[in-house]
Amino acid sequence: MAVRAEIFEEHERWAPSLIASTVLHVGLTAAIVFTGWANFHHAGENWGGDTSGGGGAMSATLVSAIPLPHPVEESQNVLANDSKGLSQAQPTVKETPPPDAIAIADKKAKEKPQKKAPPAPRDQKKPKPVEEARNNEIPYGEGGPVGSMYSNSGTNFAMGNTKGGISVGQGGDFGNRYSYYVDAVRRKITENWLRYEIDPHTPPGKRTYITFDINRDGSPSNVRIEQSSGIPSLDISAQRALQRIDTFGPLPGGYSGNKVSVEFYFER
């Protein structure tokens, strides 16, 4: 039975839907294309910045113009650097409970098995002798008379011009009496200090303090770094300058001491 049943009783009217769909799709596509064109089409813009003439090359700047962090120069201000300052902290006093105090039981205090009786309560820790204060000591009386603390105590010991001991009134006078010798020492050290041994990036103003003794015959001895500048090449070049010197010339004939101590600073 070749029956073609007309199943569909009514024509589905698909034409208007098709047209609408087509219009929608075309419109969407057009919108996409238009957006793409509008956003990404740049007329003649050059990469790499504003180079008129269209060179387009990047300009390289010298490395030294790059702002590298400066080596931090430690300021002398006591408040602004790491030094302990002039005051010293009081040692914290550990509060020991009076001997007949009963410890307050806290919530979590279960009976922990007591392994061993704790050792006898330590004595209150004696305050540690302050070593750091030496660096910040305000120097007084160097080469001069002993500090007045003791001389005013009403005792009778004579602090006059004792020979072989502390020289009162004469000490510290070397520079005044023999200024030509001090000049010669300074000149000789400066002549023997080779600055090319120092790291060229050292900031100016850095100082190394070297202490040494000059014996009777003028030879330097006991060279030591009193205060480092923090820059090893400066410290080493300062020590080498002293090593190169055999003699500063004998100490002046009128001077009775056996040696003179020198504190010398090398400044970059």
């Binding site: 160097e142 080469g143 002993v146 003791y150 105590s153 005792t155 010991f157 004792t162 072989g164 001991g165 502390i166 020289s167 000490g171 510290g172 006078d173 070397f174 520079g175 005044n176 009496r177 200024s179 030509y180 010798y181 001090v182 000049d183 010669a184 020492v185 300074r186 000149r187 000789k188 050290i189 400066t190 002549e191 200090w193 080779l194 090319y196 100082r207 003794d213 003028g218 190169r244 055999d246 003699t247 500063f248 010339g249 004998p250 002046p252 009128g254 001491g257 040696k259 003179v260 101590s261 020198v262 504190e263 010398f264 600073y265 090398f266 400044e267």
Partner: protein, 441 residues
């Protein structure tokens, strides 16, 4: 009450007990950038006694020249001195010297007198800035009344001043320079004072003599001379005649005494190629140090350690400066270009001074100048720039002066200068003079 008083005493007692133990030293505190100016020294004419005017003139001139040549002082111009020259400490008014125009910081003065054919010089060095204790030096010299002796006294006094104010520098005012001069018709060894005065012949060999080198104690002078081939000769200044040295064969040249005077280094071609040898002072105990093809010559010892020798070698082509240990090992090349010759090692062992033509070859400007090089870092500085061929530098025993030969005046002459290249002074004017060597004595 007793107890508390005792408490005050105890630390004081400790102090008394330790008094003799605390040897309190004096302190000097100073630093590098406080200025290193030259000492401003006033040297007025010494007060001349009756009949000593000519000697006084020689004395003043020699003293002034010695102090100027040392390079340590800013000498006050004589026109600034007050008109009254002080002759005795009692005549000195320090405030006059300390104020302008002299503005001196040190004063050297004294007097010179002749009596009974003897000249007596009294000299003082005063610290003008220190009125309480001004005296730094006070010296008296006596000698036969001749110009020669007066000059010697002036040299001694100048050396004393330089020693005190320069920080232990051994002055060179009494040192001598040996050199080669042709003024007798032959090249012979001559000697003169360090300032060019008193030029005298030393050898009379009637042949060609080259490269004199004095021993450290000044008792002998080694040289090379033509006597049936080039040989090393030694002249004794104490005996006044040549002394024995072994005949080695080949061409022998450029002898150099070691810093302790016990050995001689020289160049010899007895094996065919010029090599460096060492021997003792009579030519025995010969030891060969170099072994490389290419001429090796002009040895100079490190006078501080006596353990190194610097020499010239043509092993890579043009002559360059090398250093090696005294057994021949550890050869280090010091120069890397041009034509470098005639090294001389400084008394403190730190520097080499030599003659260098840095740009050598066809088309190059090619000036030969004296250069100084730090042995440790190989950094060099050019000392002469004024043209002429400068050659054969030699260090003074104080390590602050250099003598060399220069042709800038048109002819080879001897010149001296400070080790930084300043104060270049011509020392000879007569004949052709070359190959100087500065001797301590």
């Amino acid at each position: 009450m007793h107890f508390s008083m005792l408490r005050k005493f105890v630390p004081a007692l400790f102090l008394i007990v330790s008094l003799p133990l605390i040897a309190q030293t004096d302190w000097i505190k100073t630093g590098t950038n406080l200025g290193v100016e030259k000492v401003r020294l006033a040297v007025p004419d010494f007060k001349a006694g009756q009949g000593s005017e000519s000697l006084a003139a020689a004395f003043d001139q020699t003293l002034w020249n010695d102090l100027y040549q040392s390079g340590l002082f800013d000498l006050v111009s004589k026109s600034f001195n007050p008109t009254q020259a002080p002759g005795q400490p009692s005549e000195v008014q320090l405030n006059v010297w300390a104020s302008p125009p002299p503005s001196a910081s040190m004063l050297a003065f004294g007097n010179i007198n002749v009596a009974n054919n003897e000249v007596t010089v009294q000299g003082w060095l005063y610290d003008v800035k220190n009125p309480q204790t001004p005296q730094v030096l006070g010296k008296q010299y006596k000698n036969g009344a001749t110009v020669e002796n007066t000059r010697l006294i002036a040299h001694k006094f100048a050396d004393e001043i330089i020693f005190r104010l320069g920080g232990g520098i051994q002055g060179i005012a009494e040192s001598k320079i040996y050199f080669i001069s042709t003024r007798t018709g032959h090249k012979e060894v001559w000697v003169m004072d360090y300032d060019g005065s008193n030029q005298k012949p030393v050898t009379h060999l009637g042949s060609i003599v080259l490269s004199p080198r004095a021993s450290p104690d000044g008792s002998r002078v080694a040289f090379s001379w033509m006597s049936n081939g080039w040989e090393i000769g030694i002249y004794s200044t104490e005996l006044g005649r040549p002394v024995n040295f072994a005949r080695l064969g080949g061409t022998n040249s450029a002898p150099a005494f070691s810093g302790d005077g016990t050995k001689l280094a020289f160049s010899s071609s007895r094996s065919g190629d010029p090599e460096i040898y060492t021997s003792d002072t009579t030519g025995g105990n010969l030891k060969r140090l170099t072994n490389v093809k290419g001429p090796d010559t002009s040895p100079t010892w490190n006078p501080k350690t006596n353990a190194q020798i610097a020499f010239v070698s043509g092993r890579t082509g043009l002559p360059q400066i090398y250093t090696m240990d005294v057994d021949g090992s550890n050869v280090v090349k010091m120069t890397d270009q041009g034509y470098a010759i005639s090294p001389s090692w400084s008394p403190n062992g730190q520097f080499l001074v030599f003659a260098w033509t840095r740009h050598y070859g066809p088309g190059a400007p090619g000036a030969q100048d004296i250069y100084i090089m730090d042995v440790a870092s190989h950094q060099w500085v050019q000392l002469t720039h004024d043209g002429g061929r400068n050659d054969f530098p030699s260090w003074a025993p104080d390590g602050r002066h250099i003598v060399f030969q220069s042709s800038r005046s048109g002819r080879e002459e001897i010149w001296s200068m400070l080790a930084d290249g300043s104060q270049q002074t011509q020392l000879t004017t007569n004949g052709t003079n070359s190959m100087p060597n500065w001797s301590a004595k």
